[in-house]
């Protein structure tokens, strides 16, 4: 046996894991600073930065005016000079105002300038619907960023991953899009003490199984696990792959799982067409075609600007019941009345 010390763990929320990680990185690297709207005095729209202005001052926790293109680009410029800015964009919807700086600039500079400059920039932003925020404030636009070479895109699903991936993102020398989800902020989980650094670009098998693989990320992974456990009680053995990193995508882990199970369903909060699920389906087709016992299915959001009304919103977003139903369909098992 090795002498590896297993760190003590605490059960904390996703929000707290982020807050503690930001605090730790601010304490340990003076090149790190936070910038965003309402992150200082207001302590963050979702209170991720609570207490940090007080402890680190306005040079390290910089309240920006409502000017996403300006302050995201400014963070990028600071990163070019060796700073390690961590930007908070209030929600991913507003990142579109800054997309020129993210896509046309942050993602390109290192390559275009032949490695003469690096962009150690983190852009944190939550996405997701389900809070009756209506069409403009309920999007999951991760695929916009996951599409872009030069960016790294991570989407932790647990407090522990939130900590380890945020640490990795801040210490990474490339622009990292760090995707949070509104409905995960209060989720609790065990988080190991001490420095935890995840490896960007690696997926995790968060539950093993033999009959079918559910591939998901962020909030979707929590739903996938819930469904997997529910189906376990019915005698189905479901494996859950949590992508964690959308770019780079860990195709090997996905394919290794599907090779074993022969069946795959992708669960994503985002719209279906041209989505993460499409990429994963194609990957599976290419990587493990001979091991597929059924077509890969995607469970994704209805392709509609998300309505405000609760009933319509609920109908449009992919649910655990939708996932369970599709899993049964893929396995050619008749539905139980509980599904719908």
């Amino acid at each position: 046996m090795t002498d590896k010390v297993v760190p003590a763990t605490r059960t904390i929320t996703y929000r707290q894991a982020l807050n503690e990680t930001l605090r730790y990185e601010l304490e340990h690297d003076e090149k790190v600073f936070l910038i965003g709207e309402e992150i200082g005095v207001f302590e963050g729209s979702y209170k991720i930065t609570a207490g940090l202005l007080e402890d680190f001052g306005p040079d390290r926790v910089l309240d920006a005016p409502i000017a996403e293109e300006g302050f995201v680009g400014a963070a990028l410029g600071a990163a070019m000079l060796g700073m390690r800015p961590v930007v908070e964009i209030m929600t991913i919807n507003f990142s579109l105002i800054a997309i020129d700086q993210i896509v046309n600039h942050a993602a390109k500079m290192r390559s275009m300038f032949a490695g003469q400059v690096s962009i150690p920039l983190v852009i944190r932003m939550p996405g997701g619907g389900g809070q009756q925020l209506a069409a403009t404030h309920s999007q999951n636009l991760e695929v916009w960023y996951a599409h872009i070479p030069g960016l790294k895109v991570v989407a932790p699903s647990t407090p522990a991953d939130a900590k380890a991936l945020l640490t990795a993102a801040i210490r990474d020398d490339d622009p990292v899009i760090f995707l949070e989800n509104l409905s995960l902020y209060s989720a609790k989980g065990e988080v190991p003490d001490g420095e935890q650094i995840a490896e960007i670009g690696k997926a995790a098998v968060v539950k093993t199984g033999t009959d079918l693989t559910i591939v998901s990320y962020s909030r979707g992974t929590t739903t996938a696990l819930e469904v997997a456990h529910q189906l376990e009680a019915e005698g189905l053995s479901i494996e859950v792959v949590d992508l964690r990193s959308l770019r780079p995508l860990d195709r090997d882990t996905i394919c290794a799982s599907v090779r074993k199970t022969g069946h795959a369903v992708v669960f994503e909060d985002d719209w279906l067409s041209y989505g993460i699920g499409a990429e994963i389906s194609a990957t599976i087709g290419e990587g493990v075609f001979d091991f597929l016992d059924a077509p890969v299915r995607r469970v994704a959001a209805a392709e509609v600007p998300l309505p405000y009304a609760k009933a319509l919103e609920r109908a449009a977003l992919p649910s655990a019941a939708d996932l369970a139903r599709v899993v049964r369909e893929v396995l050619n098992i008749s539905s139980t009345p509980n599904d719908k």
């Binding site: 600073f33 040079d59 920006a64 005016p65 000017a67 293109e69 300006g70 302050f71 995201v72 680009g73 400014a74 963070a75 990028l76 410029g77 600071a78 990163a79 070019m80 000079l81 060796g82 700073m83 020129d100 700086q101 046309n104 600039h105 500079m109 290192r110 390559s111 275009m112 300038f113 032949a114 490695g115 003469q116 400059v117 690096s118 962009i119 150690p120 070479p149 030069g150 790294k152 990474d172 020398d173 490339d174 960007i200 670009g201 690696k202 990193s245 780079p248 995508l249 860990d250 195709r251 090997d252 394919c255 194609a282 990957t283 290419e286 990587g287 493990v288 075609f289 001979d290 091991f291």
Partner: protein, 358 residues
């Protein structure tokens, strides 16, 4: 445009501005080098040695030389895509710049950026940006970093951010100037106003065509200077940089000049009136500065001819160098995508499987 007020003083018979002759001669040499380089770039584009877009500083040589005379080595320079002259005067060799235009491995960015994206970390030329206004937020952020990293003072570094007249209408310009004014950043925004955003005049694009006045919105000094007057440009830029580095006072400097040719090498500029073209040609700063120096006895005709020939020869060497340089190695295609090594980074060429079938 013809109605635009020009602030340029009449040339004096004595050495202009009372400057040492060597300095003036140096400025002329620089102007001549930029002129020679741009003319040759145009030629090389026509010869299909240069691809893509190619925007020239022809007609803006006095502005280029004046601004580059003002900026210090410790300062950071951000510019738009009309960037060849600035790169040359920032100290990059004509060989490396021309090789970049040729897309060769010996170029400033190994041929990855091309004409619009010249970048040299060593001389703090922080790009060359192809997207209009794309450089303004990063330049502002660089100033933010400078403010964070060191105190204000005569030895502090500052940022010079160049932009065109058309750029002042985009959101990033206003957002950035607001941030700089708000946070008191050491930066000078320089509007190189050549009167045309592609084919659109300033009057047709900007509700306030006196662009320097826009600084007022951000409690920032706004200054306009004649871009055909190298010394005026230099002095105005120096003063602005001094305010930035010593007082953390951002400044908006508008430099008025003419674009001698089209927007890019492929633009015949048919939208320009004959009168406008005539004005641009009459205002051409290179022959006029040359004549001025000869008239002032700083240069003889023969000296000037020698300088022109030398610059031309220098550029010829650069062309030969670029032409003979190797193409970048395709094996290095993915070499600079990420700084930190990352698992599963894509590396497939078109048509290659994204992964081996398991």
């Amino acid at each position: 445009m013809a109605a635009k007020a020009r602030t340029r003083p009449k040339a004096e018979v004595e050495a202009p501005g009372g400057e040492p002759a060597d300095t003036l001669r140096g400025y002329y040499e620089q102007m001549s080098l930029v002129r020679a380089f741009e003319l040759r770039s145009s030629e090389m584009y026509a010869r299909a040695k240069i691809g893509g877009y190619c925007h020239l500083n022809l007609g803006e040589e006095a502005t280029v030389v004046g601004l580059m005379a003002a900026i210090e080595a410790r300062d950071y320079l951000f510019t738009g895509y009309r960037d060849h002259g600035y790169a040359l005067l920032r100290g990059l060799s004509p060989e490396r710049v021309m090789a970049e235009l040729f897309g060769k491995v010996t170029g400033v960015s190994g041929g990855r950026g091309g004409s619009m994206h010249l970048f040299d970390a060593e001389t703090r030329l922080f790009g060359g940006y192809g997207i209009v206004g794309g450089q303004i937020p990063p330049a502002t952020g660089a100033a933010l970093a400078l403010k964070y990293q060191a105190a204000a003072g005569p030895d502090a570094a500052a940022v010079m951010c160049l932009l065109g007249d058309g750029t002042t209408n985009i959101g990033a310009f206003h957002e950035s100037l607001n941030l700089a004014g708000l946070w008191k950043l050491p930066i000078v925004y320089v509007i190189v106003n050549n009167g045309l955003g592609m084919g659109t005049t300033v009057e047709k694009a900007s509700a306030e065509p006196d662009l320097y006045k826009r600084a007022a919105s951000y409690r920032m000094p706004g200054v306009r200077v004649d871009g055909d007057d190298v010394l005026a440009v230099r002095d105005a830029a120096r003063d602005a940089l001094k305010q930035a580095r010593e007082q953390r006072q951002p400044v908006l400097l508008e430099v008025m000049c003419y674009r001698l040719r089209g927007h890019s090498v492929v633009d015949p500029a048919r939208y320009r009136s004959p009168e406008d073209t005539t004005i641009a040609q009459e205002s051409d700063p290179v022959p006029s500065f040359r004549a001025e120096l000869i008239a002032a006895g700083v240069l003889s005709e023969a000296d000037a001819a020698t300088i022109d020939e030398t610059c031309d020869a220098r550029v010829s060497e650069a062309v030969t160098f670029a032409d003979e340089s190797p193409e970048p190695d395709v094996d290095d295609l993915f070499a600079y995508v990420y700084a930190s090594k990352v698992a599963n980074a894509p590396s497939a060429l078109p048509g290659e499987p994204v992964m081996d079938a398991l």
